[in-house]
């Protein structure tokens, strides 16, 4: 019985409206894709069905690897998540700290109408979540140590909604911490300044804005159905096609469209790339970077890459410091102590 419970919890995300792969959202995703193919692309229903359920995508080696990674990562999460700091712990610590700041007055805006407080909190937590995801994602691409683990996600050569789970466990930990910090900060600040009227506006227990994001096809981001928005809208919201550009192997598409729901962050920080009509995209990475389906490679190569990177940095530091240390000792003789940094020998 216990085993059944565990199996149930591995697949619990499919019945949880807080998760993108909730079956209701998946059904809507299929519907949106079909309607778009028939209405916009003028495909026959039969052809549309064929394209949505394309066996070459759903059962590719890359997708099969996604399904295995899904199960492995869920099991891993069960063990690791109790060890991670929760947003409540961060919120509580920050809530204490806010009391200690003399010029901040608790309940300063407590007189605000309840409806306004709830709307403001709901919007703020969504926007802050989205912005911090953008920043984290950007760093994942820009910093070599983080790229070593994030490229697991980009090694997918075909994409299905399950590809959202194709992440290295270390990335899962980092994203969990990001969420804890972002949400904990917003929660503590709101409760401190607005008092106990603070609440989340929800549908099916989910932040209404996340709900809107999911029912409008968030799952299509990881798919081969490249729904585009109008140009002006792609400056505000990331379309599925824009996220697919983010996964494209083409050089000019690298480090573009880091955003999740909002495109404004990419627009503001110069990483926006609009979708291109008729452009056939190829997903994945070069063979020298990652393998699309070999699990051992997917889970363990990042450690090797990180170690190589650190060794390279250490060697460079060593080379830059050695002549300096040699000069110092030559100039001042034996009495002068060698600077502490110069004594470290990474080799």
């Amino acid at each position: 019985m216990e085993i059944l419970d565990h199996i149930g919890s591995v697949f619990a995300d499919f019945s949880n409206p807080k998760k993108r792969v909730f079956f209701g959202y998946l059904l809507l995703t299929i519907l949106i894709a079909l309607v778009w193919l028939v209405a916009v692309r003028r495909a026959s229903i039969r052809a549309a069905l064929h394209e949505v359920f394309d066996r070459k995508v759903l059962f590719s080696a890359s997708s099969l690897a996604d399904y295995k990674i899904f199960v492995i990562n869920r099991v891993f999460t069960m063990f690791i998540s109790p060890l991670l700091v929760s947003q409540l712990a961060i919120a509580t610590a920050l809530y204490y700290a806010l009391h200690d700041v003399d010029f901040l007055q608790r309940g300063l805006f407590a007189g605000t109408p309840k409806g306004v407080i709830i709307a403001l909190f709901t919007a703020t937590i969504f926007v802050v979540d989205d912005l911090t995801k953008y920043l984290m994602h950007r760093w994942m691409h820009r910093w070599p140590l983080l790229w070593a683990i994030h490229k697991v996600h980009h090694s997918a050569e075909t994409m299905t909604p399950i590809t959202v789970y194709r992440v290295h466990p270390l990335e899962g930990v980092l994203y969990g911490l990001r969420a804890a910090v972002a949400q904990g900060t917003v929660m503590a600040s709101f409760l401190f300044f607005f008092g106990n009227a603070v609440d989340l506006h929800t549908v099916l227990g989910v932040n209404i804005l996340s709900f809107v994001f999911h029912v409008t096809g968030s799952n299509l981001r990881h798919s081969h159905i490249s729904i585009r928005y109008w140009r002006w809208l792609e400056h505000l919201l990331i379309s599925p096609a824009q996220h697919q550009v983010h996964h494209s192997i083409a050089r000019e598409h690298h480090d573009k469209n880091f955003g999740v729901a909002f495109a404004v962050w990419d627009w503001m920080f110069g990483s926006l790339h609009l979708s291109e009509q008729g452009r056939k995209l190829k997903f994945g990475l070069k063979a020298s970077e990652a393998h699309p389906s070999r699990l051992l490679d997917i889970y363990f190569r990042p450690f090797g890459d990180m170690a190589r990177y650190l060794r390279r940095r250490a060697r460079r530091l060593h080379e830059r410091l050695r002549p300096q240390a040699a000069r110092n000792s030559a100039a001042s003789g034996r009495d002068k102590p060698i600077p502490a940094v110069a004594r470290t020998d990474p080799g």
Binding site: L84, E171, Y175
Partner: protein, 466 residues
């Protein structure tokens, strides 16, 4: 073989459940007289009137603490308070709980309940580091009585003391809790002490173990029928507001010896009634007492076997753990009250009243935190932290708090503490109590809103990335 074992197990489990169900709503007593060779006419061996007398002394002492007029009648008030604390040759009037409209009480004097009782002889006398001056428990109480008598209606607005609350809450621990868990449910359960095959004392109609156990129950302060009442009813009985619930025998008058709910039981019911409503301290403690007593009765006047004493110690353990939690819950609740009171003081509205409530709640907070430190367990670092966070007095609006007391009993106010910082201390006290005692009810939880929001937002594990 396996099957027969299973059957046996099922039978044992079923019979346990059934016997438990049969006892579930049963009152504490009557239990038969089992002393071998007893020839008197008593038929009920339950007796704990001495403990009820002490509860009444305590309630009256608390009321007496408010009789000072600011110094003129100090000697008179102190003498009155000491009479209730140390006991008196005269028959003392019951100041509380006294008869009132709609709630007539059978006894009017302490001797009508039990003669020759006092509080001081049954008061925690170890070191009490929660109070300034390195005093023993009894000396702290005596100093509080002295200062209460010299105050105006038990209130000290400069140092932030509410003497009635401080004395009362401290006594709930230092007398009732301490005697029960550190004496009657502790060494008195050993084989060689107050054995079950002898009367408690020459000619008594109860055995050594029966009476020791009854005395511990008496200190808990539940009515004999409390288990059949809801937490709300037990609470109302203690407040003298529900005659029907209190009057178990239907004679329209409340017998303090069996029908009244006193302090420790009142706070057990209070924790169950408020907060998260997910605790059952009253029923848990009561049932452990009642089932333990039934076990002793079942020995029928023979010495308890080691197995029986082990079972009894198990009940004692349940009682002690849960009783300690009720004290921690009360401390938690008043830390939350103090936190809210500071908001009111800072808002500047009706400042005298706001300060009065603040000091009252602080007295309850401090008293209960001292009660927690009067039990059998040394709380160690948790006590040190708690005493530092709560301090020797509340932070006052001038940013100072009591730091010491001099030889003449005058408070020294040298510790800097803003009201804001003190609020943070209250949050930390609540967290400390959760971490140390695992309490669940958590009335007045100052960070409950955060927990509720976190619950709504869901876990952050595997937050989706792209």
């Amino acid at each position: 073989m396996l099957k027969s074992k299973l059957n046996l197990t099922t039978a044992i489990v079923l019979s346990t459940l059934l016997s438990g169900a049969a006892l579930a709503d049963q009152a504490y007593g009557p239990f038969p007289v089992t002393v071998k060779g007893y020839e008197g006419d008593k038929t009920n061996s339950v007796s704990y009137s001495g403990q009820i007398a002490r509860h009444v002394l305590h309630d009256s002492l608390k009321k007496a603490a408010g009789k000072g007029d600011g110094g003129h009648n100090a000697a008179e008030v102190e003498a009155l308070m000491l009479a209730y604390f140390n006991g008196s040759d005269e028959d003392l009037a019951i100041i509380a709980p006294a008869s009132k409209d709609g709630f007539p009480v059978k006894q009017a004097t302490v001797n009508e309940i039990s003669k020759g009782k006092n509080i001081s002889g049954k008061f925690y006398n170890g070191a009490m580091t929660a109070w300034p001056g390195n005093k023993s428990g009894v000396d702290v109480a005596l100093q509080m009585i002295n200062l209460a008598a010299a105050s105006n209606q038990g209130y000290d607005p400069v140092n932030g003391m509410d003497w009635g609350q401080l004395i009362s809450k401290f006594t709930l621990g230092a007398m009732a809790y301490n005697q029960a868990v550190d004496n009657y449910l502790d060494e008195k359960l050993e084989a060689g002490t107050k054995p079950n095959d002898k009367p408690y004392k020459e000619g008594a109609h109860y055995t050594g173990k029966e009476h020791s156990w009854d005395e511990a129950f008496g200190y808990f302060g539940a009515a004999a029928h409390s288990v059949s009442l809801s937490p709300e009813q037990n609470y109302a009985v203690s407040k003298q507001k529900d005659l029907a619930a209190a009057d178990a025998n239907g004679d329209d008058v409340i017998d303090l010896k069996t029908e009244m709910v006193f302090g420790p039981a009142y706070y057990a019911a209070g924790a169950d009634k408020g907060g998260n409503k997910n605790t059952q301290y009253m029923v848990t403690i009561f049932n452990a007492f009642r089932d333990g007593r039934a076990l002793i009765a079942s020995a029928n006047g023979e010495a308890l076997t080691d197995a029986q004493r082990a079972e009894l110690k198990n009940y004692a353990d349940i009682i002690e753990t849960n009783w300690e939690k009720t004290l921690a819950e009360a401390t938690f609740k008043y830390a939350g009250s103090v936190y809210k009171d500071i908001d009111k003081i800072k808002s500047g509205e009706d400042s005298d009243k706001a300060l009065r409530n603040y000091v009252k709640h602080w007295g309850e907070l401090k008293g209960f935190s001292m009660a927690l430190q009067s039990g059998k367990n040394n709380l160690g670092a948790a006590a040190i932290d708690m005493n530092w966070l709560i301090g020797f007095g509340p932070a006052m609006p001038d940013g100072k708090m009591v730091s010491d007391i001099d030889a003449g009993g005058n408070f020294v106010r040298d510790r800097e503490m803003t009201l804001d910082d003190y609020q943070v201390n209250m949050l930390k006290v609540q967290k400390l109590l959760i971490d140390t005692f695992g309490i669940e009810s958590r009335a007045n939880d100052a960070t409950a809103d955060l927990a509720a929001l976190a619950e709504k937002l869901g876990t952050t594990e595997s937050a989706e990335s792209d």
